[in-house]
C-alpha cells in the first residue's frame, strides 16, 4: 500500500500563531486607550501605532497562508525584531516580566514562527 505523506501545514500553523500575536497587540492597543482619556495624550499615538501593527500582523498571517514570499520575509523580519527587543529587555535591569506567559509570548512564539517560516521542505519552497 502506498502511503501519501500529509503536508506539513507549516504556513497554516504560522497563520494561527500570527493571528494570536495580532490579537495580543490588538488587546494591548485597546487597553492603552483609557489612559488617553485620563490625560496621557502621547499614548494616543501608541494606541494607533499598536492597532496598525495588529492589523499588519493579521494581514501578514493571511499572506503567509497564501504562500506569499514577501509576507513570509516580512513576518520573519517582524519576529526577529520582537526577539531582539525581548533579548534587550531581558538583559536590562528594569524588571521586565520573566513569567511563563511572557516567555511564551515574547520568546517561544517568535522562535516558533521563525522555525515554521524557514525556507526548506515543501511549504515555502
Amino acid at each position: 500500500m502506498i502511503r501519501v505523506e500529509a503536508p506539513s501545514g507549516r504556513p497554516e500553523a504560522a497563520f494561527v500563531l500570527l493571528l494570536l500575536q495580532s490579537l495580543f497587540w490588538l488587546i494591548a492597543g485597546l487597553s492603552a486607550a483609557p489612559f488617553v482619556l485620563g490625560g496621557e495624550i502621547h499614548m494616543a499615538g501608541l494606541v494607533v501605532a499598536t492597532l496598525l501593527l495588529a492589523l499588519g500582523t493579521c494581514m501578514l498571517a493571511i499572506g503567509v497562508l497564501w504562500r506569499r514570499r514577501r509576507a513570509r520575509g516580512l513576518a520573519i523580519a517582524l519576529e526577529v525584531m520582537c526577539l531582539f527587543g525581548t533579548a534587550i529587555l531581558l538583559l536590562l535591569p528594569i524588571g521586565f516580566n520573566r513569567g511563563p506567559v511572557s516567555l511564551m509570548v515574547n520568546v517561544a512564539l517568535p522562535i516558533a514562527l521563525i522555525v515554521l517560516l524557514r525556507k526548506d521542505g515543501e511549504a515555502f519552497a
Binding site: R3, L17, I27, G39, I41, H42, T50, F96, V105
Partner: protein
C-alpha cells in the same frame, strides 16, 4: 495574575514533563499521513492534559475541582493520541471550548484567581484550538465550515478569555495587590502603638522638611524636575541627585515630590521616597501604616513619560516597554482619605485642588 500560585506550580512542572513524552509518542508512531498542524495540536493538548492532571495533586481537598481536573486531563491526553479518529476535530474543539468557558466560569464565580500557570494553559489551549480547526492545503472535509469556525472562535475566545482574566484580577486584587499594578510590602496586620508613633514622627519630619517646596521654584532650584506630562491632574517631580545618592527614607532628601497641576501652577501634595533597587523594600517604621509599594508590570513609554498597564499576555503597546519601578513610599501632606502614607492620593482631592 503575574505570579505563580504555589498550588499551581506543580501543574507547570507536569506540563513541562508531558512535552518530551508527547514528542516521543509522535516519534514512535511516525504518523506520515497526519499534517503538522494536527501533530502540533496533539502536543499542546498533551501538555495541557499534563498540567490539569498535575493540579489534581494540590487540589485533592476540593473534590469537585479535583474531579474536573482529572476528567479534563484524561480527556486531553486521550484526544492528544486519537488524532486519526474521524471525529477528532469536533471532539477536540468542543473540549477546548468547554475547558475555556469552564475556567472563565470558575474565576467569575470566585472559585479561583488567574495566575501565570492558568494563563499559560489558556494560551496553549487557544493555540491548540487554532491548530485543530485550521485546514491545511489539500484538505477537503468541512473546509469552509472549519475556516468559518476558526475565524470566529479563535479571536472571540482569545479576547474574552484575556479580558475576563484581566477584569477579574483588577476587580478582585489580593491583599498584596491593593492598587493597580502595585505590590505592597508585607507587614504585620495592625500597627502597634510604637509603629503609630514612628509613623507620626516620619510624617511630621517630612512635612517640615518639604515645606519650602510649597514654592515650586525652590524645588526646581533644588534639582526637582517634572517626570511626566503636566496635562495630568498631578505630576511626580524627581530629583536625580537624590535618586543617585540612594538616600533611604531621608525626609530632607526625598527622591521625588508630587504636585497637583492647578490653574495657578503646581501645588505641593507630598513627597516620595524611593529605593534604588527593584525588590528591595525600604525600612518600615510604621508597620502597615508605612508599607512601601512597588509598581510591577507597567508599560512605560519615553514619549511623554507616560504609563499604561501590561496585558495578561505580557504585551505592551508599540513604543512602550514593560518595567518595574523600585519600591516607593509616599507621604501626603494634604488631607488624603486613604491616609498620609497611602499608595495613591484620592482623585477627588487632586481635582478639588486643581480647580481651586
Amino acid at each position: 495574575m503575574f505570579d505563580i500560585a504555589p498550588d499551581h506550580a506543580i501543574g507547570l512542572y507536569v506540563g513541562l514533563l508531558a512535552l518530551p513524552l508527547a514528542l516521543i509518542a509522535i516519534q514512535l508512531r511516525r504518523p506520515r499521513d497526519v499534517s503538522g498542524t494536527v501533530l502540533g495540536a496533539s502536543v499542546l493538548m498533551a501538555i495541557s492534559g499534563g498540567i490539569h492532571l498535575g493540579l489534581v495533586l494540590t487540589h485533592r481537598n476540593e473534590t469537585i475541582t479535583a474531579a474536573l481536573f482529572v476528567m479534563n486531563g484524561v480527556a486531553y491526553l486521550a484526544l492528544s493520541q486519537l488524532y486519526s479518529w474521524p471525529w477528532w476535530r469536533p471532539a477536540s474543539a468542543a473540549l477546548i471550548t468547554m475547558t475555556l468557558f469552564g475556567y472563565l466560569g470558575y474565576i467569575v464565580l470566585g472559585f479561583d484567581t488567574p495566575d501565570q500557570v492558568a494563563l499559560a494553559t489558556k494560551l496553549l489551549e487557544l493555540t491548540a484550538l487554532g491548530l485543530v480547526l485550521v485546514p491545511v492545503a489539500g484538505e477537503r472535509p468541512w473546509r469552509r465550515r472549519r475556516w468559518g469556525t476558526l475565524a470566529v472562535a479563535v479571536p472571540l475566545l482569545t479576547v474574552v478569555t484575556i479580558s475576563v482574566a484581566w477584569i477579574d484580577a483588577l476587580a478582585r486584587p489580593d491583599t498584596q495587590h491593593v492598587h493597580v499594578g502595585a505590590v505592597l510590602q508585607q507587614t504585620n496586620e495592625v500597627a502597634t502603638p510604637e509603629q503609630e508613633a514612628a509613623a507620626k514622627q516620619l510624617y511630621d519630619q517630612t512635612v517640615v522638611a518639604i515645606a519650602p517646596y510649597g514654592d515650586w521654584h525652590k524645588a526646581w532650584d533644588a534639582g526637582f524636575r517634572p517626570g511626566g506630562s503636566q496635562s495630568l491632574p498631578s505630576t511626580h517631580w524627581m530629583n536625580q541627585r537624590n535618586v543617585d545618592a540612594a538616600y533611604v527614607m531621608d525626609p530632607k532628601h526625598p527622591q521625588g515630590l508630587v504636585y497637583a497641576n492647578s490653574k495657578h501652577g503646581p501645588v505641593l501634595l507630598g513627597a516620595m521616597f524611593q529605593m534604588k533597587n527593584i525588590g528591595n523594600f525600604g525600612p518600615d517604621p510604621g508597620g502597615p501604616l508605612t508599607a512601601w509599594h512597588q509598581h510591577e508590570n507597567i508599560c512605560f513609554t519615553p514619549i511623554g513619560f507616560e504609563f499604561s498597564l501590561m496585558t495578561p499576555t505580557a504585551t505592551c503597546p508599540l513604543g512602550a516597554i514593560d518595567i518595574t519601578a523600585s519600591p516607593m513610599l509616599h507621604v501626603w501632606i494634604v488631607d488624603n482619605p486613604g491616609g498620609p502614607f497611602a499608595v495613591d492620593i484620592d482623585e477627588k482631592v487632586v481635582k478639588r485642588i486643581d480647580q481651586s
